[in-house]
């Protein structure tokens, strides 16, 4: 287990050094790429709680990612146009303050996860995979055909939202915000994994009946995990929207759900840093393979296939050798 810890530290150090170096040497796009990786990693950390720890294979986490994005888009566009979101029965104004947007994004995606989880967790296995996918698709088609916030065109926000005391338009400062949030989420998830709750959640993944018979309501444990998981992914969605200063229904597409899953598998299912390493690797692959050939998806597909077939436990699983308790 020690070695996994070293890998985690190295990943963390790289996430600090690479963008800092890029910033100093005047390569802002590398910082942007790193920001993208960190935000995707955050989305993956969220899903990993449900998928890695809880064994809940959600194929619809794009729903929370998208809701987070749209919370940012809606709040900021109203602030941008000085139009209140709601006047009756009470006044709700838009905002461009990041902390408020984050909070709303977390709450809204948690509420959605509560609803979707409460219904989906009645099923299991493939049915769970597919019913979560169905909820994602529902939202996807809803946002495309909902005219108020741009439909398929999405919403553009011309200026990045603000964080007190920082200049968020400066790539490195925005990166810093995302990095700190990722670290906070990692810390939180690590605490959860080690808590009685985490023990029960992962125990239920290994043997549901065992956890039931010690008097723990597995459904409720999973639901809580699902809600936290959705909330973290929702926060990532809000950051992603701020990175691009743009939201659109593609944030809800099933390909996004698939990509978030890919990060986890690439890095290592149930490993704390799995999604972080996976997202970073995916962004690197996308960046370098994209320049290689017009048909670069073939290479990407082949690499993914290789990881699934030959590197069980993901990259961290390969590097850390020893199987940790969570991957099955």
């Amino acid at each position: 287990m020690l070695r996994e810890r070293y890998i985690n530290l190295i990943v963390l150090a790289l996430l600090l050094v690479v963008p800092a170096h890029a910033y100093v040497t005047g390569e802002p796009f590398t910082v942007t790429l790193a920001t993208r990786a960190v935000i995707f990693a955050l989305a993956g950390v969220g899903l990993n709680l449900a998928l890695g720890q809880g064994g809940l294979v959600s194929f619809g986490h794009a729903a929370y990612f998208g809701v987070g994005g749209y919370v940012m888009g809606i709040l900021a566009s109203h602030a941008q146009n000085y139009e209140p979101i709601l006047q009756v029965p009470f006044l709700i104004e838009g905002t461009n303050a990041m902390p408020v947007i984050w909070l709303v994004a977390i709450v809204m995606s948690a509420l959605l996860a509560l609803l979707v989880g409460a219904l989906s967790l009645r099923t299991s296995g493939v049915y769970f995979i597919m019913v979560t996918l169905a909820f994602g698709q529902m939202l996807y088609y809803f946002t495309i055909s909902w005219p108020a916030y741009g439909g398929e065109d999405g919403l553009s926000i011309y200026v990045r939202n603000q964080f007190p005391g920082l200049n968020t338009l400066d790539p490195i400062q925005f990166y810093g915000i995302c990095f700190v949030l990722l670290c906070a989420a990692l810390f939180l998830v690590d605490r959860i994994n080690k808590s009685p709750f985490g023990l029960a959640l992962n125990g239920a993944h290994q043997n549901e009946e065992r956890v039931q018979t010690v008097g723990i309501n597995v459904y409720r444990v999973r639901l809580v995990a699902f809600v936290i998981s959705g909330a973290i992914t929702g926060l990532a969605g809000a950051l992603f929207a701020d990175l691009n200063r743009f939201v659109s229904p593609t944030m809800f597409s099933w390909q996004i759900s698939g990509e978030i899953m890919i990060f986890i598998i690439l890095g290592g299912v149930g490993r704390l840093f799995g999604p972080v390493l996976g997202a970073a690797l995916y962004i690197l692959l996308e960046h370098f393979l994209g320049g290689l050939s017009e048909y670069w998806f073939i290479y990407l597909g082949a690499i993914l296939l290789g990881v699934v077939l030959f590197a069980k436990g993901g990259i961290i699983g390969k590097l850390a050798k020893r199987e940790v308790s969570h991957d099955g």
Binding site: V126, Y127, V131, A134, F135, M138, Y141, L300, A302, V308
Partner: protein
Amino acid sequence: MNTLLLIEQILNGLQFGVMLFLMAAGLTLIFGVMGLINLAHGSLYMIGAFAAAAVAGWTGNFFLALIASLVAAAIVGALVELTIIRRLYARDHLEQVLATFALILIFSEATRWIFGSFPLFLNVPEVLKGSITLPGGIQYSLYRLTIIGIGLAVAVGLFLLISKTRVGMRIRAGENDREMIAALGVDISVLYTMVFALGAALAGLSGALVGAIQSVEVGMGEPVLILAFVVIVIGGIGSIKGAFAGAILVGLTDTLGRTMLPLVFGSFMEASAATTVGSALASMLIYILMAGVLLFKPTGLFGAT
């Protein structure tokens, strides 16, 4: 909406459902027998359509094209099963989803590499062109009626295959107990390859049939794949009967939903708002249907509990 139109729309729903069944049957069979979630099933549909378009363009014969779609999809299916898929049977669903997702990327771009970025041409054969008058004076496309016919024939054929033949018996046994069938001396890996190729062939056939009235292009398989998953989840995964019921239900819900909902909303809303709301709801309808079914029957209509 008058009765004739309603009947025509019901026929359209049936045709859509039957087409979905061809996709869903293979998917559900593969899941039932091997326990595999195959996202690349949509790629086999695409391969069938491209093979048909290529052969039709070359020979000008639609029926040869249909055969080509069956053969090409079955061969590709068997090859993929032998090289990659069989390594996934023992893996969990998550890894299957990922590996077959990777296969989609490979198949899509490889197809584009071979056939180019533009859609291909495939048309309804002369003999099936135009429409015929059904009893009651309904004008209906002959080709669509043919699709309904082929779909029903495949459904009956599959049912007979599974319930009456030796291969079907092995398939049923394989669903229940993999070790038992291995102990019986049936070469399980040959059986798996056959089942996978059969599922692939059905997907390919469906791609070719649909390709004649739709666009033969890269990426055509994924929307259908998702619908086919909705179908088998509603019907109960692993059940051919369920796939059939689910397919017809989804076909009818979708077709009637998108014609009726704007009208329903129009009865109490302003016309353009009704169109918007109705269409939006219609596009979500089958997912709502699926969530609803799973709420009451968490393993689908015909799923084992």
